[in-house]
Amino acid sequence: MKKIEAVIQPFKLDDVREALKGIGVDGMTIYDVRGHGRQKGHKEVYRGQEYEVDLLPKVKLEAIVPSDRVEETVSAIIESARTGKIGDGKVFISDVGQAIRIRNDERDDDAL
């Protein structure tokens, strides 16, 4: 199994979820993050005091999928999340040794 971690633009979340549903990837976990990379931040001023804000709001999506589904999952994410502008985000893939479904102890691929 592989863990696919995608950092995307918040306003792209709905599209990405549609795309994944499209290819039958249901299981996923999502949370809000702030990210920094090449995308320029913006200036904020509070009572004359300037702040350079370069941690921008992003959404992180994690999906653990069987190794043989990584390809399509990744491309589904990439295509649906892309705007072509800096800040679109990244996808990271790593190994997962084991997966267990708490409810009934199902293991690995069955648990996804």
């Binding site: 633009q9 306003f11 709905d14 913006h42 200036k43 904020e44 509070y46 804000v53």
Partner: protein
């Protein structure tokens, strides 16, 4: 109505025999206490009331910009009113617009206007001039340039609101002694129809927010919206009962009618929602309350408490269908339903005022008391307001778009107006 007679009388007095006026008019401190209190309540309706009601309904990235649109009116309209707004609304003029006597509040001081100081009357009216444009902002929330908004409101207040006030309350042709006397106790036409219809026009002109309706745009903080709605309800007592311009029995009627209509509208909206959507919601309850308050505004000093319950209920149900069904059908994006609640609710109220008005309460009979003319007048008045506000707004927004641009860039809309228009973020939670 009450206002008109009172103040047109005053104007006459001022013109012809100030001495006499001074003689017959004396300040009643009870009345003054109530109208000062009411003025404070009406300001509270805009800030924090309306600002929270609207701010809680937008997405997190736009709350500050949304609240700022209301807050800015508290500053902008005040200066406009002080310099020329009040004068062109209430100093003697023709059927459509007032005169220049009160420019820079010249001659507006502590002397009695009716039973309250002229300044008290002026500032009470000012609070209405603040909230009316603020109501419009609900329609273009989350996508309009702050600068464009300021320009628009300045022009709109000058060519739409001020004349409307003069026509209906300032001695113009829709007021008591005018050609087309309409009953509008506290602003069904002047405030709600004018702002609601203008809201519709702008939302059509601007087009939808990016991602609407596919993307999820749920209210980001209903707790804030709830606070706002409750403060609107409380403040509305000043809005309607204050419009009696005295702490008398009529004020008591307006106060009770206001409360009853709000309550009935809450039930009306929730019942329909419960049946149609399966659950009664908090957002539905507070929206219904506002719809009822809008509906009773023109009628509050003319009908009985039991009539108020019917008017409120009707406003709640009708507004629900406009907001939940009609809007979806027509597919325009009135972000926060400024039209669906104020335009529609105001129209319902204006018409029903002509239906229910009772001579024994506000001195004017309606259709139910056999005076069909009043219903016609009020309907005509509402129609006229629709036309005037609609056309004027379209022209104004079109020109501003041409000369300055009204909508933010796609990128700015994605990032949010708080950061792009004001360089701030609301929460560091």
């Amino acid at each position: 109505m009450k206002k008109t007679t009172k103040c047109s009388l005053m104007l006459l007095a001022l013109l012809l025999l100030p001495a006499v006026a001074a003689a017959q008019d004396e300040i009643d401190k009870g009345d003054n206490a109530w109208i000062l209190t009411s003025s404070a309540l009406v300001l509270m309706m805009t800030g924090p009331g309306l600002a929270l009601f609207y701010g809680g309904l937008v997405r997190k990235k736009n709350i500050l910009a949304t609240m700022m649109q209301s807050f800015a009116m508290m500053a902008l309209m005040t200066l406009i009113w002080a310099v020329y707004g009040y004068s062109f609304a209430f100093s003697p003029g023709n059927a459509f617009i007032g005169g220049a006597d009160y420019l820079f509040l010249n001659g507006v001081g502590a002397e009695p206007e009716g039973s309250i100081p002229h300044l008290t009357f002026m500032v009470f009216q000012l609070m209405f001039a603040i909230i009316t444009p603020a109501l419009i902002t609900g329609a273009f929330a989350e996508r309009m340039k702050f600068s464009a908004m300021l320009i628009f409101m300045t022009v709109w207040a000058t060519v739409v609101y001020v004349p409307m006030v003069h026509m209906v309350w300032g001695g113009g042709f829709m007021s008591g002694d005018g050609a087309l006397p309409c009953l509008d106790f506290a602003g069904g036409t002047v405030v709600h129809i004018s702002s609601g219809v203008s809201a519709l026009v702008i939302s059509l002109f601007l087009g939808k927010r990016i991602g609407y309706p596919s993307e999820r745009m749920r209210p980001h903080n209903l707790a804030l919206a709830f606070i706002g709605a409750c403060l609107l309800w409380v403040g509305w007592f000043g809005f309607n009962a204050g419009s009696a311009l005295a702490a008398d029995g009529l004020a008591a009627f307006a106060f009770v009618n206001t409360h009853f209509a709000a309550a009935a509208a809450v039930l009306g909206w929730l019942i329909v929602e419960w049946i149609r959507d399966g659950k009664p919601s908090v957002l539905g309850g507070i929206t219904g309350a506002v719809a009822g308050l809008v509906g009773i505004t023109p009628a509050s000093g003319f009908v009985s408490p039991m009539d108020a319950i019917l008017i409120g209920f009707a406003a709640g149900v009708v507004c629900y269908f406009c907001v939940a069904v009609l809007k979806a059908k027509l597919g325009y994006d009135d972000s926060l339903d400024a039209f669906g609640v104020h335009g529609v609710g105001g129209t319902v109220g204006a018409v029903l005022t002509g239906l229910f008005a009772r001579e024994s309460i506000g001195g004017a009979p309606g259709l139910l008391e056999g005076n069909s003319g009043q219903l016609v007048n009020n309907a005509l008045g509402a129609l006229l307001t629709w036309v005037l506000a609609g056309i004027a707004t379209l022209v104004i927004i079109y020109l501003i778009d041409l000369l300055h641009g009204v909508r933010v860039t796609e990128q700015e809309e994605h990032v949010g107006l708080d950061v792009t228009q004001h360089g701030e973020e609301a929460y560091q939670l």
